[in-house]
């Protein structure tokens, strides 16, 4: 019960922190970078469903984010489709292409699956770069409109978009929370723990894995759609596999298979990258060893480590309470027994 309370308290505290953040930082640049971190956090949440909960590493995740972003970019700039319709179609498009990619790639197991998805990612990147007629190729798509206002709310400032993205992140978290704590979420985890056992428990493997994959890449698609409306410029590099690797790093730092881990990781690493910007490409010399140390000494990530400790303590408390109850019952019986005799 105390675990539940503290969870709720933490969630409220996090939302409040997100709300006041723009007012405590010196300028718009901090707001801009944070909003970008939230967008990547949404994509990483999706990746974590597949990687952390279902146990499959999809290296094409950035490609699906690119598919979402380009859906918005192409539809709004070239076809004049309103932003929010394009936004919805971005998720639908990523999910539909994910379904096709999923039913093919999920026939493969373990790292064969990952290698296959790496290829999917490269194919998507090539298509974006080479298909000038559709994607504007290496020139990229410029002048993507900001999200259109909803009622009296306008999204034409960085601050307004920051709040829009924060709200989307909160919604993404609520939906993910329901998914991973559902019975279907438990089926995903059973697959991660071992496919033969999951199947023996009546989990249809293919259908369940494809479902996880489709939801996962839909998150990437929506994140891409937000990205397009926020950055307002798209180039093929968004599909690069290095972007997928960044998201994996977010998840590892925050905690694989934890709800808030990818969000914590995305925020921390985005800021770490920003503060090491002066080192340019040499910053990887700092990042690499740090990541190795983390994987060695904190393999469950920040949130994973905290959660494991909390679960253990809660279990011990509950067991102790159960024992005390049992002892109390036993001694009560003991007192009664002589009376019967």
């Amino acid at each position: 019960m105390s675990g539940l309370l503290s969870r709720r308290t933490l969630a409220v505290a996090a939302i409040l922190a997100g709300l006041v953040y723009p007012f405590v930082v010196p300028n718009d640049y901090f707001v801009y970078v944070m909003a970008l971190a939230y967008i990547y956090a949404i994509a990483a949440l999706g990746l974590n469903l597949m990687l952390g909960y279902t146990g499959h590493l999809n290296l094409a995740h950035a490609a699906f984010m690119a598919i979402g972003a380009y859906t918005v970019g192409i539809l709004t700039v070239d076809y004049g489709v309103p932003y929010w319709i394009a936004f919805l179609l971005a998720g639908v498009n990523a999910a539909a292409l994910g379904f096709v990619a999923g039913i093919i790639s999920l026939r493969l197991k373990h790292h064969y699956f990952s290698i296959f998805t790496l290829c999917i990612g490269i194919i998507v990147w090539l298509v974006i770069e080479k298909w000038d007629g559709l994607t504007h190729g290496v020139v990229g798509i410029m002048g993507i409109p900001a999200p259109t206002g909803i009622g009296p709310i306008r999204f034409d400032t960085t601050l307004a978009q920051y709040y829009l993205i924060l709200a989307m992140l909160a919604l993404a978290l609520v939906v993910m929370d329901r998914i991973v704590h559902s019975l279907t979420g438990r089926a995903f985890m059973a697959i991660r723990n071992g496919e033969p056992l999951a199947e023996a428990l009546g989990v249809p493997l293919m259908r369940t894995k494809v479902l996880s994959f489709v939801i996962s890449v839909a998150y990437a698609g929506f994140a891409g759609a937000l990205y397009a409306g926020f950055v307002r410029f798209l180039g093929p590099s968004i599909a690069a596999e290095t972007n997928a690797f960044d998201m994996i790093a977010f998840i590892l730092v925050g905690g694989l298979g934890t709800l808030s881990g990818p969000v914590i990781g995305a925020i921390m690493l985005t800021w770490a990258t920003q503060s090491l910007q002066f080192l340019q490409d040499y910053r990887l010399l700092v990042f690499g060893p740090l990541l190795i140390l983390l994987v060695m000494f904190m393999p469950k990530g920040i949130i994973g480590t905290l959660k494991a400790r909390q679960a253990r303590e809660a279990g011990e408390r509950a067991s102790a309470a159960r024992r005390e109850q049992a002892e109390a019952d036993a001694s009560a019986d003991g007192r009664k027994a002589p009376a019967h005799a």
Binding site: S182, R186, L197, A200, G304, G315, S319, R323
Partner: protein, 261 residues
Amino acid sequence: MLEVSGLTKRFGGLAAVKDVSTSFERGRITAVIGPNGAGKTTFFNLVAGAYRPTEGIVRLDGEDVTGMRPDRMAMLGLARSFQTTTLFEDESVLDNLIVGHRLRTRSTLLDAILNTARARADNRECRRKAEEALSFVGLDHAADRVVADISQEEKKRVAFALALATEPRIVLLDEPAGGVNPEETAGLARLIRKMAESGLTVGLIEHKMGMVMGLADKVVVLDHGEKIAEGTPGEVSRDPKVIEAYLGADFALAGAGHAAM
């Protein structure tokens, strides 16, 4: 009741299981024994649908279920435990068991996202079933412990509970007492007997002969993929072919010599 007839599985030129016919009776414990590499686990995999037989028929209560996928078999009431059960170490025992009853529920992911009454009812039902299964295997006291903190023997019991949460008619247990001490083995044997007495059909692969001989109603002996003997533990343990398979031809001859004297 589960019947198999003429069950054969070839991997390329190698027959891992060759023309095996037998049956598992309701409420009885049928043990499958044999030397390492005899094809016992392959046999279970064929029965449970994990492998498609090259030849032969599997019937569950008269229905032909040959080559049916494991998740469909689970729906039909066949549950199994594996030599090693990978559980979610950082979660409580009870939470680990909830997925076991998922196959008997109807709510979809959309129900879960919208938190509908059906999703909540199914969640409660799965939790109740998990508690019931945990109670059956005698682990009420460990419900809230994280799996990483419980003993090897308790993990074996959790694996049984997971199988029981699926509401099976038949359970196949692959080396349920592997890696636990003799005292704990006796405890697990009592639990397996209790499962049979509750009306379940129990199939068992086990290397611990003492346990098999004291527990099984029927023993099926496999060697090099073929059934070489079948009968009560007493019959099987006197069978020269079984002694030969286990202890080598010399010992069997020596044993026969002794018997003659």
